[in-house]
C-alpha cells in the first residue's frame, strides 16, 4: 500500500511543513507559538526520515529499522524540548509578567 505513493510526494509535504514551521519561528512573537512551530519542523523531519526509511533504498548492510529508531528517538527529544521550553516560558512569565519574546529586553540586542 505504501509503495503506491511515490517517495517524492512525502518529501514535498515534509518540505512544505518544515518551511511553514520555519516561517512560524521567524514571525511568531509568543514563545509558546514558536515552540509549536518548532514542533512542526521536527515532525517534518520525522516524516522525511520515515518516508526515506520505507520507500528509499537502504545502504547495504544497514539495520532494517534504522529510520524507525531514528524517528522514535526524535519523538522523545521533541517531548523533552517542549517540557523544558514550557518550564522556561513559565519562568520568564513569572519574572517578566509577559509572554512576548520582543519584550524581553534586559540586555542590549
Amino acid at each position: 500500500m505504501s509503495q503506491d505513493v511515490p517517495l517524492n510526494w512525502y518529501l514535498i509535504v515534509a518540505a512544505c511543513v518544515f518551511v511553514i514551521g520555519l516561517f512560524g519561528v521567524m514571525t511568531r512573537r509568543n514563545p509558546i507559538a514558536v515552540l509549536m512551530s518548532i514542533e512542526l519542523m521536527l515532525n517534518a523531519s520525522n516524516l522525511n526520515i520515515l518516508a526515506f526509511w520505507r520507500l528509499g533504498t537502504p545502504n547495504p548492510g544497514e539495520a532494517p529499522l534504522t529510520g524507525v529508531v531514528f524517528t522514535a528517538l526524535v519523538i522523545a527529544v521533541a517531548a523533552a524540548e517542549v517540557a523544558v521550553g514550557i518550564a522556561l516560558i513559565l519562568v520568564c512569565y513569572r519574572v517578566w509578567k509577559s509572554a512576548d519574546v520582543d519584550r524581553y529586553d534586559s540586555m542590549l540586542g
Binding site: I38, M41, G61, E62, T66, V74, V77, V95, V101, M107
Partner: protein
C-alpha cells in the same frame, strides 16, 4: 555480489561498558548528587552549607571521572588488540579510540574547573539539580565527541544542549538569566530542527546513519549518479552546517551568543564557551571529514560550492564581525561573547585547513590544540567574570580597574590569558593560531583552494582583537582602583585562573607536549572504526592498522569503491 557485513546486534559486553566508565560514573554521580540534595540536605540545612556540600561531592565525582579517564589512557589499557576487538564498539554507535580517550580527559578536565567555579557563589536555589545537570550535560558532551553515528550524535547533542538551556535559566529570579535561557532554547531548538532536517536528507541520500558508511556511500554515489552535483546535497549540507554553526556560534547563527553569555551565570557561560564549543567543533570535524568529506569542495559538476568554501566565508565573516562588535562593548562577559564568535572564526579556518590540507592529521592536531588552549583561557577569563558577578555585583570592564595593584596574582594570570587570546608569541594561543594558519597556507600547494586571503583576514583580525583585549589590560594596570576592588578572591576562581595561566604558559613554551598526543588523537579521529571488511587494511594478524588515514576524497580523483572481503567476519 559480495556479501555485505552486517554489524552485529548485541547488548554491549562488559569490556565495552568498562571503556565507558567515566561517562557512566558521571551519569550516576549526577543522580547521586540530586538524591543527596533532595533526600538528605534540602529543608534541613542552610542553603550555603548545602551548596558547599553538594559542590564538594560533585567535585569528588568529577575528579574520580577524570581519574578513570586518565586511567584509560594508561599504556596497556588501551592495547591495540582490545581496541580492534571492539571495532564495533556499542554496535558501531560510538568509537572508543585514542582520540576519544584523550579528548574525554580534556572534556572532564573542563568540567572539574567549571564545578570549581560554580562553588564560588550561590546563585541558585536548586543546587542539586544544578550539579546533576552539569554532569549530564558533560555526559552528552563526551558521547557527542565519541559518536560515530548520526542518531547518537543528535541525541547526545540534544542531551548536552537541553541540559545547558536549563543551567542557563537556573539563576532563580534573575531577569537576565531567564531571558537568556529562553532565547537560547528558541534559537537552539530551531537550529537543531534545521540540523535534524539536514540529517534526514543525508540519511535519505545514503540510507544509513553511520558516519563511515555515509562517507562511503557518498564516495560511491559520486562515481555512479553524482550525488554531489545536486541541489539536494547542497541543501542537506547547508542545513547540517546551520546546526553546527549554531552550536559553535559562527556568524549567521550567532544572535544568541551575546545575550546568553551575558545572561547566564558565569560558570555556565564558561561551560558553554569551553565544553560545549569543544565538543561541537570535534563533532563537526568528524561529521564533515568522515561523512561529508565528498562534499568538501567544488569538483566541477557541483552546484553547491562545498563546505570548504562555505566555511571559509563563514570564518572570515565571523572573525570580522566578532572582533568589530567586541570593540564597542563595555560589559566584560558580552565582550568575551563577541570574542568567542571571533574565535569560532579562527577555528573554522582550522576546519577548512583540515578539509583542504594534505597533512590532515597535523591540521586536526592544530585545531584540537587551539580548542584545548582556548577552552582553558576562556575558563580563566570567565572565572574573573564569576568573581565580578558574585563580588562586585556587576560585570562591566570598568569594574576591573586597578585590579593589578590590589590583587597582583589573579590580575597577572588574567593578563596572561588575555595575551594568549590575542596570540602573543610565547603563549599557547599564539602557537594554536600559527599552526592552524600554517596548515591553511600549506594547502595552497596541493591543488586545493588558495586560502591565503583567509589567513590574511585572520591575521588582520588578530590585530583588531588586540584593541579590545588591551582595553582590559589597561583597566587592570593603568587605571585607579575602584571601591569594589580589594575583596578576596574565592579559591575556585584563583585555582581556575592559576591552572589556566600555567597551562597557557606551559603549553606555549613547550607546545609539543600537547601537540603530539593531540596529533595522535587526530589520526584516530579521522579514521572511523567500521566493519573490518569495508576498506580498512587488515594485516595478517587481523589487527587493524588504525594509523593509516584515508586519502582526502577531494584530491583523489575517483575513489575506488572499497572492495569488501567476505572473509573478515
Amino acid at each position: 555480489m559480495p556479501t555485505v557485513p552486517v554489524i552485529p546486534s548485541v547488548w554491549p559486553s562488559s569490556s565495552e561498558w568498562f571503556f565507558l566508565s567515566p561517562v557512566l560514573l558521571m551519569a550516576f554521580w549526577g543522580v547521586l548528587v540530586l538524591m543527596l540534595d533532595v533526600l538528605v540536605l534540602r529543608n534541613r540545612t542552610l542553603l550555603s552549607t548545602r551548596a558547599k556540600w553538594l559542590g564538594l561531592t560533585s567535585l569528588v565525582g568529577a575528579l574520580a571521572a577524570l581519574g578513570l579517564a586518565v586511567g584509560l589512557l594508561w599504556p596497556g589499557v588501551l592495547a591495540t588488540d582490545v581496541l580492534s576487538a571492539n571495532e564495533e564498539f556499542f554496535n558501531g554507535t560510538i568509537a572508543f579510540d585514542a582520540a576519544s580517550a584523550l579528548l574525554q580527559v580534556v572534556g572532564i578536565g573542563f568540567l572539574v574547573l567549571v564545578i570549581g567555579l560554580s562553588m564560588t557563589w550561590v546563585f541558585t536555589n536548586e543546587q542539586g539539580e544544578y550539579y546533576a545537570l552539569l554532569f549530564w550535560s558533560a555526559v552528552g558532551m563526551i558521547l557527542m565527541i565519541e559518536a560515530e553515528e548520526f542518531m547518537t550524535l543528535f541525541v547526545a547533542l540534544e542531551t548536552m544542549t537541553i541540559s545547558i538551556y536549563i543551567l542557563t535559566g537556573l539563576e532563580t529570579g534573575s531577569k537576565r538569566s531567564s531571558e537568556a535561557a529562553l532565547k537560547y532554547l528558541i534559537y537552539g531548538s530551531a537550529a537543531s530542527a534545521l540540523f535534524l532536517f539536514g540529517l534526514s536528507w543525508v540519511y535519505g541520500l545514503t540510507g544509513t546513519t553511520r558516519l563511515a558508511a555515509v562517507g562511503r556511500a557518498l564516495v560511491e554515489s559520486r562515481t555512479v549518479e553524482g550525488i554531489g552535483g545536486q541541489w539536494t546535497s547542497g541543501l542537506a549540507l547547508l542545513l547540517v552546517l546551520a546546526g553546527f554553526g549554531f552550536k559553535v556560534a559562527s556568524v549567521p547563527f550567532h544572535q544568541w551568543t551575546p545575550d546568553v553569555y551575558e545572561g547566564a551565570p558565569a560558570p555556565v557561560t564558561a561551560w558553554i564557551a569551553s565544553g560545549s564549543k569543544f565538543a561541537s567543533f570535534i563533532a563537526m570535524i568528524k561529521v564533515l571529514m568522515l561523512a561529508l568529506g565528498t562534499w568538501s569542495v567544488d569538483t566541477g559538476h557541483l552546484q553547491s560550492p562545498g563546505w570548504v568554501v562555505i566555511l571559509s566565508i563563514l570564518a572570515a565573516v565571523s572573525m570580522t564581525y566578532g572582533n568589530l562588535a567586541a570593540l564597542g562593548q563595555q560589559n566584560f562577559k558580552r565582550m568575551l561573547a563577541y570574542s568567542s564568535i571571533a574565535h569560532s572564526g579562527y577555528l573554522l579556518v582550522g576546519v577548512v585547513a583540515i578539509g583542504v590540507s594534505s597533512q590532515r592529521t597535523e591540521a586536526t592536531g592544530a585545531v584540537l590544540y587551539y580548542l584545548c588552549t582556548y577552552g582553558l583561557a576562556t575558563l580563566g577569563t570567565f572565572a574573573v567574570a564569576a568573581w565580578l558577578a558574585h563580588d562586585v555585583g556587576s560585570d562591566q570592564i570598568d569594574d576591573l580597574n586597578g585590579l593589578g595593584f590590589r590583587r597582583p596574582v589573579p590580575a597577572f594570570c588574567l593578563a596572561i590569558l588575555l595575551l594568549s587570546l590575542i596570540g602573543v608569541p610565547p603563549l599557547a594561543g599564539f602557537f594554536g593560531k600559527m599552526l592552524m594558519f600554517m596548515e591553511a597556507l600549506n594547502a595552497g600547494g596541493n591543488g586545493g583552494i588558495a586560502l591565503t586571503w583567509l589567513v590574511v583576514v585572520a591575521l588582520l583580525n588578530s590585530v583588531v582583537s588586540a584593541f579590545y583585549y588591551v582595553r582590559v589590560l589597561k583597566a587592570l594596570y593603568l587605571r585607579q582602583p575602584g571601591p569594589a576592588i580589594g575583596k578576596s578572591f574565592p579559591s575556585g576562581v584563583i585555582w581556575t585562573l592559576v591552572i589556566a595561566a600555567v597551562a597557557t604558559v606551559g603549553f606555549g613554551l613547550n607546545p609539543t607536549a600537547l601537540l603530539d598526543p593531540l596529533g595522535g588523537a587526530g589520526i584516530s579521529l579521522l579514521t572511523s572504526p567500521e566493519p573490518a571488511s569495508s576498506g580498512r587494511p587488515v594485516d595478517s594478524n587481523g589487527i587493524t592498522q588504525s594509523a593509516t588515514v584515508p586519502e582526502n576524497p577531494a584530491q583523489t580523483q575517483v575513489p575506488v569503491a572499497p572492495a569488501p572481503s567476505a572473509s573478515a567476519r
